[in-house]
């Protein structure tokens, strides 16, 4: 009898069971825990062969560690109270003929980076034929077409939007302006504080910029 118990203890200590359940009486996997698992400090967990994810992008969750509770949690942008990138479309109705010079979005420049992508400019009645004022003399401004600024810029700590024809040109009437805007959360970006790369072309047409910090 004593020998048998000894044998039992010996086998138990070698942990050679094929299926172990903790908190469950019917494990279906090699080790199955029904309850919380805690790994003490300085001990590691290795997943030697967890496999590769091959499903669609919408069916997986990123895993994160809550640094306040040390809990492993899933990251779900749909329920989180912030996202990494926001996309929005601004519609400015009845903008004066000079275009949009500065619109304060109130978006905090210390937390976010804002960039204007595409834009649409319409007449304020919704029609698409936009005119720019100019003069028709031999060297009048009608001989030139102005470029434009479609840009988000920082002023007094917040992001402002502008869309203007430059060269001091103005639209012939009031306009409606749509701006597609991307808003990036700065502290989640790999690099959001890179200084602008400034390059002087010195009246040339080609150049090479230094590689940015990536």
């Amino acid at each position: 009898m004593k020998n048998y118990i000894y044998l039992f203890a010996l086998l138990l200590s070698s942990f050679l069971f094929s299926q172990v359940g903790i908190g469950t009486t019917s494990p279906t996997e090699t080790l199955e825990v029904n309850g919380t698992t805690k790994l003490h400090q300085n001990n590691k967990i290795y997943l030697e062969n967890p496999g590769y994810y091959s499903g669609t992008s919408g069916s997986s969750s990123l895993m994160v560690k809550d640094i306040n509770t040390n809990e492993l949690k899933k990251f779900d942008p749909a329920t989180a109270n912030f996202a990494s990138v926001y996309f929005t479309s601004y519609f400015f109705d009845n903008v004066g003929a000079a275009g949009l010079s500065s619109y304060d979005t109130k978006i905090d420049a210390s937390k976010y980076y804002v960039s204007v992508g595409g834009f649409i400019v319409l007449k304020s009645d919704g029609s698409t034929s936009i005119s720019i004022e100019g003069t028709t003399t031999t060297n009048g401004t009608n001989n030139y077409f102005p470029l434009y600024s479609a840009r988000a810029f920082v002023q007094n700590g917040t992001w402002h939007l502008k869309f203007q024809p430059n060269n001091n040109r103005v639209f012939e009437s009031q306009v409606d302006i749509y701006l597609n805007v991307s808003i990036y959360r700065k502290n989640l970006l790999t690099n959001a504080e890179n200084a602008p790369i400034v390059l002087d072309f010195q009246n040339g047409t080609t150049g090479t910029a230094p590689a940015p910090s990536l």
Partner: protein, 229 residues
């Protein structure tokens, strides 16, 4: 003999169940608690869907990842679970602002960004053109003065191009009106400001350019979603 059969039957089913287990821990407070050593999982590792969602702010978490080149006891042992510090890697995007001064006429014909195109995909946004003093703009290509009763004057302006492209192994930018007349004033220059949004290919995929022939129609439909989406 009775005990013997009990032990035998136990090992025949190869199943054990415990309530609270400590490994290297004498008084476990959790269902499973491990200390004094590492856990190795050689096969799949499942976490039930009922695990909580993170609900804190954007500074209270670290992303967890498996290190494919980890070591243990001096030997390669893949898959050590690690957390990212500082850079969250949640948004592996770099935004780089550019300011290109004194571009001849308006012709930024080629700017080599020195961003390797095998590793990154880029997009350009936040464009601003700032003319030099006295610069009225881009000169027209032609003007039709024989309009209806000569009351209309039709001006033909060149198209204006903002383009990013892969040249050699790097991304390049081109911003110009390629066909505009340069005959007017050659001392005018532009300063161009723009942002380049840089997406690493280890997270993002470039679908390349998609070409459809609309055969003169005004509407079209792709036969499929873009390949690779």
């Amino acid at each position: 003999m009775k005990t013997y059969f009990l032990i035998l039957s136990l090992f025949l089913t190869f199943t054990l169940s415990f309530s609270q287990v400590g490994i290297g821990v004498t008084n476990p407070t959790q269902m499973l608690e491990v200390d004094g050593g590492h856990i190795y999982v050689g096969d799949d590792f499942y976490i039930m869907n009922s695990i909580g969602s993170y609900s804190g702010d954007d500074t209270g978490f670290h992303i967890i990842a498996a290190d494919p080149n980890s070591q243990s006891k001096g030997e390669p042992l893949n898959g050590e679970l690690i957390e990212f510090y500082g850079n969250q890697e949640l948004l592996p995007i770099t935004i780089q602002a550019y300011e290109i001064k004194n571009v001849r006429y308006h012709k930024l014909q080629d700017l080599n960004l020195q961003i390797p195109s095998d590793k990154y995909v880029i997009s350009l946004s936040n464009f601003e053109a700032i003319p030099s003093s006295g610069n009225l703009g881009l000169y027209r290509v032609s003007r039709n003065t024989s309009g209806f009763f000569n009351t209309f004057q039709n001006f033909t302006y060149s198209n204006f191009v903002i383009e990013t492209s892969e040249v050699g192994s790097n991304w390049h930018v081109r911003i110009e009106a390629p066909n505009v007349s340069l005959s007017h004033n050659t001392s005018w220059t532009y300063t161009y400001k723009f942002d380049i949004i840089i997406f690493p290919k280890r997270f993002f995929k470039n679908l390349g350019s998609l070409q459809y022939n609309l055969n003169g129609n005004k509407n079209g439909a792709a036969s499929n979603t873009p390949a690779g989406l």
